[in-house]
Symmetry: none
Subunit: 220 residues, 4 copies
Amino acid sequence: MNNRPSLNKPISQVNRPSLNKPLTEVIAAGPTPDKYESILLAAIRVFARNGFFNSKVADVAKDAGVADGTVYLYFKNKEDLLISIFNYTIDEAIERARKELTTLDSPNEKILKLAALHLDLMGRDENLAKVFQVELRQLKFMEQFSTSKLSIYFEFIRTAIEQGQQAGLFRTGINPQIAAKVLYGALDEMVTNWILSRKEYNLSDMADPVVDIFLNGVKK
Amino acid sequence: MNNRPSLNKPISQVNRPSLNKPLTEVIAAGPTPDKYESILLAAIRVFARNGFFNSKVADVAKDAGVADGTVYLYFKNKEDLLISIFNYTIDEAIERARKELTTLDSPNEKILKLAALHLDLMGRDENLAKVFQVELRQLKFMEQFSTSKLSIYFEFIRTAIEQGQQAGLFRTGINPQIAAKVLYGALDEMVTNWILSRKEYNLSDMADPVVDIFLNGVKK
Amino acid sequence: MNNRPSLNKPISQVNRPSLNKPLTEVIAAGPTPDKYESILLAAIRVFARNGFFNSKVADVAKDAGVADGTVYLYFKNKEDLLISIFNYTIDEAIERARKELTTLDSPNEKILKLAALHLDLMGRDENLAKVFQVELRQLKFMEQFSTSKLSIYFEFIRTAIEQGQQAGLFRTGINPQIAAKVLYGALDEMVTNWILSRKEYNLSDMADPVVDIFLNGVKK
Amino acid sequence: MNNRPSLNKPISQVNRPSLNKPLTEVIAAGPTPDKYESILLAAIRVFARNGFFNSKVADVAKDAGVADGTVYLYFKNKEDLLISIFNYTIDEAIERARKELTTLDSPNEKILKLAALHLDLMGRDENLAKVFQVELRQLKFMEQFSTSKLSIYFEFIRTAIEQGQQAGLFRTGINPQIAAKVLYGALDEMVTNWILSRKEYNLSDMADPVVDIFLNGVKK
DNA sequence: AATGAATGAGGGTTCATTCAT
DNA sequence: TATGAATGAACCCTCATTCAT
């Protein structure tokens, strides 16, 4: 009915801007031919500013420089904007994590790398972080995500822990599932606090101390 | 403007039902004379079910068994319902934590107790947990809470960690502030996962394994 | 069903306070045993301040120092308050006009007296004036009043004009009905302007110049 | 905020229908392409019928043949409808008065012309007259208008009177300001009575007798 | 008579979504 | 594709009125 590329469009076709800049600043850099991306990035900014429920589709359209109706040519509805932000981000994060992990053998290094990537991704774009930490916590989204993309990310952590146990580095008495949650929760809290602190410090700097506590906590 | 006890009413006067039952089931036990509490407990149930933004004040009123307008005799507006849920719960949690901690000397025991109390409070009432984990994550609330009641709770954890360092039990290289966030984040994630798992296990059982990792992580 | 004295209670039983003070200030003078009057005077103040539609019955009750429900023991409903203000005032104004006119023979003097009484009544109580000039203009009230009490007042003016014509003082070519409206309209406009000027001058002082124009306008 | 032409749209661009027909009947003549005007004319009808406070915005929308929300595309809120009715009408009335007066030299003729225009404008559209005589008497509007557009109209009358005095036609002992109020009040009362009489006579016919009394009242 | 807590109908306004152009 | 005017369902909150005490 409505040619909506939001869910099936491969991230690679999105012509994703440089990973070294905040996502939501890239758009200001020059003419963005891809309206799908313009709208998505506008949604991140707007949702971060006002919250999902307090944002109007018209706000997103205005921020993206398109007409209200145009939003509906690229996204099924308002909710689809939020879901697409998640997919747009997580797809790439997973891809990148997969690549980076293959270059590492040590479970310790893998875990540190995962933590660094997590905090780097969020720390690079405060708006994106806000959307992930705040707006995507709506139960309906959380339930959806916990059984999908996010569980893949979780799997990386758990697998690294299991490898650590098999390698005799980590205590076998520890439940890898629980340990993965501990690490994820700790990192998640770092992001939340960083947002609330209004970016007074560098989020990536938190990777080391957090992983330090975690690895000491699970080591033999 | 209206006689709204929500913010100043001492929790002790609220005739709070038994701590061993989920808050939101107590109301079904019999006639509740306290309309303020009836409405608040109804709001927890309704917000947990539909989310704050998807809930209508009329839903809360209906669930509480009062007329729509009655809600506004006890609460300033819809948002006040959410804030009052937070205050209603956190006030008691802080009070309880304060009492329980005075009976303990060991930093390890204090930290375990805090974790147990946290998970016990949330694990006792799934609806309350949902409201705390999902609805109160709205940025406007988080900012408000992080500088108020919730910071008191954080202080408990940080203080225990500092005491552990002074007692020579914990590594001094560790930043107590960061460590507190790690523990809080880990516990928070346990609650979130418990909700998503639909109560398949006992949340309180997570206190030991989480604290085990954490204490090993910070110990000398 | 409801013992409402508002419409049939003779003004003489109301123990009307001194005519030399604004109605709405009398109440502050001392204990008012008559609740009917307390509420009515409060209504004048409140309606003058906020307008009828923007005033709440609760505002009137509070200003009168009674409970909300008490208002309904003395007045059928909110609208009855407004109607009663009209009757309460006009009954006395008519009575007073009737008395004062009997002492005068000259049509000129009668007309001046009517004008003076009119402006004196309104000029004595700004709140009352506001209610009469603004709130009672609602069409439903105007239609009701134009066929009742107010027409009696009109009759006084018209009769005086007719007497002036019969006495050979006023032009017979003039329609007494229209002339009465001209005078009434002129006086009415004085009151309205006085309210808008925020009482910068004495309303009664307008009687002479207005009547001067009018009498010259109709004289032979 | 919204593209609301109500306040700045020149009356000339509004494609105002023939001055010889009641404003509120014109719309029934055919398809009205101007939604702004459709809604404004509907508001006049609806407010005249039920009064401003008893009218719902939905009533206006329905009468105008548009959706409820459409009203808010052209008017800021319900109150703006009322204010716009005033501006819509008074702007043209002033313009017309200005034009007509320039063709006249005699103060007497000017005053008669102003009276005729006044009664003609109101007598042409009973609904408009009702809104002006009843709804726009709300204190908040009166205060606003008395210091704006309406004072221009007043100025016309006062200036004519002063010219009459300077020409030696009118008594110099008369205060032009007060005299202007007398005339305005008299005309205003004619309109009010005409409404209450339910159009039993032609309002414009009142111009001569009223002006006759007035001019005789002020003449030397 | 007096109270004031409780009621619940009612309405102004918003905004996601549609569709004619 | 793109627009943005138009739609109309939805909802928070107010407040006149009632009635048990």
